[in-house]
Symmetry: C2
Subunit: 346 residues, 2 copies
Amino acid sequence: MITPMLDSRKHTVLEAIVDCYNRTAEPVSSQKIVRDYDMGLSAATLRNTMADLEELGYLTHPHTSAGRVPTEQGYRVYVDSLMTAQKLSQRERQFIRDGYASSRRDFEEIMEQTSKILSAISHHIGVVLSPELHESILRRLELISIDSEHILAVLLMASGAVKNQVVSIPKDLSDEELYRINRILNERLAGLPLKQIRQISQDPVKLKAVFNRPLSDPIATVTRNTFALEQETHVYIDGTSNFFSHPEFGEVQKIESLFRVLEQKEQIADLLSSQQEPLGIQVLIGSENGCEGMEMCSVVRSSYRVRGNQFGTIGVIGPTRMVYPRIVSIVKFTSQMISELFEESL
Amino acid sequence: MITPMLDSRKHTVLEAIVDCYNRTAEPVSSQKIVRDYDMGLSAATLRNTMADLEELGYLTHPHTSAGRVPTEQGYRVYVDSLMTAQKLSQRERQFIRDGYASSRRDFEEIMEQTSKILSAISHHIGVVLSPELHESILRRLELISIDSEHILAVLLMASGAVKNQVVSIPKDLSDEELYRINRILNERLAGLPLKQIRQISQDPVKLKAVFNRPLSDPIATVTRNTFALEQETHVYIDGTSNFFSHPEFGEVQKIESLFRVLEQKEQIADLLSSQQEPLGIQVLIGSENGCEGMEMCSVVRSSYRVRGNQFGTIGVIGPTRMVYPRIVSIVKFTSQMISELFEESL
DNA sequence: CTTAGCACTCGCAAGAATAGAGTGCTAAAA
DNA sequence: TTTTAGCACTCTATTCTTGCGAGTGCTAAG
């Protein structure tokens, strides 16, 4: 628990500074700590300790005569070994539960609702990443005729996700034949992950092996066209305007770079999924998130689990100066909630 | 063409001021006009004319020693009777067409792509409102079993839109029975607008009349649950970060109120659909849009048409100081494009 | 090792001075 | 009668100065 280089006083002081800075968004002076934190030390002593912490790289000075501000490294230590978990209040838990109560529990709605809940309760940005479609297991497939050249393929996944896709078909395919194809596809492909189905459908040898039919058969064509899917995850974002209330984003410039990033959904998807380990909670502090234009933001993320042993990610994006214990608890609890939801329903 | 109260000189001057202000975002002085617009008049004369225009309510002064800025009323006159339509260049038309080329032409993708195209080419915010689901005509309905208590209802609309919905069903409904119900529902309900179907499904008398079965019959339950749909339109927004490049949004405050509105999709939906007349283009200048927090923005919108005689709306939201002729042409052309797309495909 | 005291640094806010852009008005010119 | 040159006046934006206050670092005493 105790970082080797830091004695217990340095710990306490660093924690106090992080805490104070998080609340005020202003550099913390030695005076301020004496006044607010009653730790039985004089300002001068604190100044010495603070100077030490600065030398170790945990604090900085905006300028000579200003108070101290935690560095990313300082936050790192704080998050890893200083902060004490802050349990969510009964109220807050209830708020999260209520958020899901109204939803009709379909897949998309849960995703959307989650991003809303996360942002509403954290007062930061809530983000949800759906599980990668390719990893999903096909539960069932339905082909619906649209016109003579197109059908709508409805892919129902084990996770509860649904993917609609318009597919071109060979002309003059009768309804009966379509129905027959539909039945065969379900027989042979249901239960397999999409990734594997895709491989089969693009590989003539495998395709032939699975269906035991010539490649010119309509069934081969339909399969090929239906499963020529791109990799795909959806990103749900909510609460972007919460950023305006933080004083450190007082200048348009800073907020601009952030918003430009947020509009690039792929970047956000990368941000949430990179080096994600299943079922752990992770905190990326400041530039650790590796996202250009988001250096002054931290990300708290966690994976969640849906049926079919698949994982998605939820997260909160906020200023580096966020109340980590609270946000961590929120993300943790919400990811549990959502995993449970997917377990019990659908 | 000529507004009664304004002689031809006032026209020219007003147009010049609007044009100049649109380009520079700064109050326009008499000097500036003499220099840039070669209209054979001295600065003093222009000042007189400008004073007249101000008295008529078409211009204002930020302060005594500043240049003139068009009022909303001024813009109104400009848009209604002064500006000359600016044809899109071949390049621009091609840009729009190319934007659709890649899309696989399913309903959602066209919507999404349209908002992207609009924002990319206008450098403002692109918005698309899908047709109201209730007005859509049901083309076909497919019921897919999920588990013993739920099915997935896939509603395929005449417009090409698809709506998935998880529906609770009576327990122990056999697959055969579900299939039978599915067939009957298609027979009786396909071709009707959802609104009407909803009425039928919620009204015991009508329900009985249509299906000629007791209300306890599973078919009645499934119908009721499937068509208990809320009114629903989707809003697609893109290009929000474009707003940062406009100098009039240099202060965080102004941009904040705008972004808070943009996060409220319902408000945007209202904004686009209120008093919309089919197939016309409309320009709402400044506070005319009636949306709190968007007083400094104008909206150029147009409806588009999908199969089944339904209408949706597309629009561009930008600062009041936008290049109206260009934006109007963009919106007009795009709405034609999208109508054509829906005509030919799907 | 801690702390009081003090000199020193630096940012920030308030004021003062200045420059300059633009207007309105008046009187002369067309 | 309309246009224009000229000029006084107004107001903003910029720059510079000044003073204040918050904070630190260092030193010497407790």
